[in-house]
Symmetry: C4
Subunit: 171 residues, 4 copies
Amino acid sequence: MNMELANRLPSLKLVVFDFDGVFTDNAVYVNQEGVESVRCHRSDGLGLSRIRKCGIETIIISTETNPVVLARAEKLKMEALHGIEEKGSALSAEVEKRGLSWDQVAFVGNDINDIPCLERVGLPVVVADAYDEVRPLAKLILKRKGGEGAVREFCDLIWNARKGKKETNNE
Amino acid sequence: MNMELANRLPSLKLVVFDFDGVFTDNAVYVNQEGVESVRCHRSDGLGLSRIRKCGIETIIISTETNPVVLARAEKLKMEALHGIEEKGSALSAEVEKRGLSWDQVAFVGNDINDIPCLERVGLPVVVADAYDEVRPLAKLILKRKGGEGAVREFCDLIWNARKGKKETNNE
Amino acid sequence: MNMELANRLPSLKLVVFDFDGVFTDNAVYVNQEGVESVRCHRSDGLGLSRIRKCGIETIIISTETNPVVLARAEKLKMEALHGIEEKGSALSAEVEKRGLSWDQVAFVGNDINDIPCLERVGLPVVVADAYDEVRPLAKLILKRKGGEGAVREFCDLIWNARKGKKETNNE
Amino acid sequence: MNMELANRLPSLKLVVFDFDGVFTDNAVYVNQEGVESVRCHRSDGLGLSRIRKCGIETIIISTETNPVVLARAEKLKMEALHGIEEKGSALSAEVEKRGLSWDQVAFVGNDINDIPCLERVGLPVVVADAYDEVRPLAKLILKRKGGEGAVREFCDLIWNARKGKKETNNE
């Protein structure tokens, strides 16, 4: 892990996630009545609950209009904004509301509509299979693909960085 | 990109897609009551909306009788003809109705029932995992498989070609 | 293609298929109410309809009790026996009922409960990802996996073999 | 197979499984109404029924609260405890209830919440794609991934080991 990442991870206060392509493999299952489903990864829940115990807040911001985003967020006990056309402004509002500086915020995305968010935050992150246009914006490219435990991987990095921090504090 | 492709992309007025194997991975999910679902890719929507903003029309023509085709098309705000036995004639009717020449039309397919369409259009395209029988008919073989962002990939090619065109026009 | 296979394909009158692991990838999707779904391949339908036009009969014989087998069979316009504990006896009854010899019958399977059928028929076939125990029984191992177009692949082999036969007859 | 494994397999009386990531690929499918589905492998059923015929008991212990665990367990005719926060204590209670020693128990898991169980049992087992943190605890790492026949693979190992035992006994 490079030094910048090692420095940023322990001071995070808010982690914001895109939904499709991050919590999912960017697929949508559609049935003949138009009902949508998505494929998520069970392992994400354990990672999210661990970082929340450290006092880190987690939100989903998605352009997708279908309520499937809310269904998954509810299971994960996360706040979610969906149907958001301008993700950048929505993110700014959330950061301001909490009185945070951009250095305390990470965003995890995968596609071009995440660019305004990736450009704003102190720690921009993309999944392993993110689109080429957004990869250069990331300070961290995860090893796992969206929907294959990418969320868990990032939570584990934060968890381990904070553990190290605490151990150092205790010395 | 070869010269012919570079020339054809900017002049497209109509892009016609097969459904199964192009918007999907050619799988169908069947439940015990016979209800069908398909697995599509979220990224396709963004690509389609960008080329429509350039004034390009997009249609789906499918032999599949199940209304799942219409359910996905509705979400993507696309016109769709389904249950079409003779895809070639249906395509001809659509082209004629719009007063277009074949040079202004692309078709994206994957299987042998797409042959009549691939033979007619100026720009025949197939997905990465198209059947061997249809590959020789294509002037463009996409890098992505059906249901894995193949539609988005083709839309991005058109978008980038037109951007180049505009920039040239503005000079 | 070896000589024996080339000889057997054109004389087939009945093709019998296992369901799970042949028409599907051997997965079952279960929802929280216990409703089951399976993942099939759209391409199979086209292959099956072509060989039926040649007068070849097609049946599914499955041990699975869930009616999802029947739901898929109905879409494919195939006869299906499901919940069959003794596949071998069920197959024998079907062959006898039609007055066929075993040389005119192929069976496509993937797992150990297919052994009695694979041992009986003139042309035993398994999918690419069949279990090790059954592979030695097969005279033909398909290139495609179950649920990934294996049924279509076998139908295409029969279709091409019969086309050759007709062309020879016409000379 | 190493000697310890060869010795332990024939004396097993109870096999306990985690659910998500063992019976499934650790994915969860969520629809827009919040209904959850999981993807299991048909082949597991045949393996489980064979070892039960040998008098081995099989249970699922899962932290997951969704009843989809029970839906799959019912189909497989297995007892299942779900929504279990402390898997270790739950496992101890089951072993005590049956009057077994830890040498007669195997546990199959994939993630860190399985650690208390993997540490207790005589034969700790993990699937091919288990998390790094739990792999060192396993005496057996299966070749197959969760949801891809890992349960079947372990059942087949037990079945084959007991067959050998019986043959030896008969001599």
